[in-house]
């Protein structure tokens, strides 16, 4: 079961790396739409990878020696928890692009201008017409 633990550790670290990319993108990108691009993709992928890594750790924690000898009741609780974690991953896989799309459309309809060229770099257009309530 050490292989499952190593796989889980690699998946969690890979998720952290993708979230580092998302965080750098959210801070450094010039306008709202490109920030949305970085946040939506990186956030979804890193969340799914980290939850899959946690599922690998949960399955590795099952006392497999007792299960092979016929004590299947030890198998119930870790499998149930793993299914719940996988359901969270599935939920985030559906809802995160949906909320990203809704926020993007709301931002477009509330008149945020994209940052089109490097020529007018001094005044970022999205800074000006802010319908800030």
């Amino acid at each position: 079961m050490i292989i499952l633990q190593i796989t889980g550790a690699i998946l969690v670290i890979l998720g952290l790396v993708f979230f580092l990319g998302a965080a750098v993108g959210v801070v450094r990108f010039p306008d709202f739409y490109s920030r949305m691009h970085a946040a939506g993709k990186g956030d979804t992928l890193s969340t799914i990878l980290m939850l899959l890594g946690i599922v690998c750790f949960l399955i590795a924690d099952v006392p497999w020696a007792a299960v092979i000898h016929g004590d299947f009741s030890l198998l119930v609780e870790p499998i149930l928890t793993s299914i719940k974690v996988l359901m969270i991953a599935l939920l985030i896989m559906v809802t995160s692009p949906t909320s990203t799309h809704a926020l993007m459309q709301a931002g477009y309809d509330s008149g945020i201008k994209p940052h089109l060229s490097e020529a007018d770099d001094d005044s970022t257009p999205s800074d000006e017409e802010t319908p800030t309530p």
Binding site: A39, I88, L91, P131
Partner: protein
């Protein structure tokens, strides 16, 4: 293994800090809503990691599920609010 999850949770929290910067300094309201959405999604993962540290994942995973649902509903409600705000302004202007 507990040390690994402590380190992973600490790294996740440290990586949330740039997004806190975007939440405070974001030029307009939609950037702030975006930052809240990202932080909420990552808090879901952080709750599961806290469950792994305490070896009580079966309890914490329910919190994480409820948090993910509330985060999704909150961000959809905010997006819908700003959408309708713009439409109301257009209708008032014309």
């Amino acid at each position: 293994m507990e040390l690994f999850f402590k380190l992973a949770g600490m790294a996740l929290f440290v990586l949330m800090l740039p997004i806190f910067y975007r939440l405070i300094a974001g030029p307009n309201a939609m950037d702030r809503i975006l930052a809240v959405n990202v932080i909420g999604t990552k808090t879901t993962v952080l709750l599961v990691i806290i469950g792994m540290i305490f070896a009580r994942v079966g309890m914490f995973v329910d919190f994480a599920l409820a948090y993910a649902l509330l985060n999704f509903i909150g961000s959809l409600a905010a997006a819908r609010y700003y959408h309708q705000d713009r439409l109301r302004q257009e209708r008032g202007a014309s």
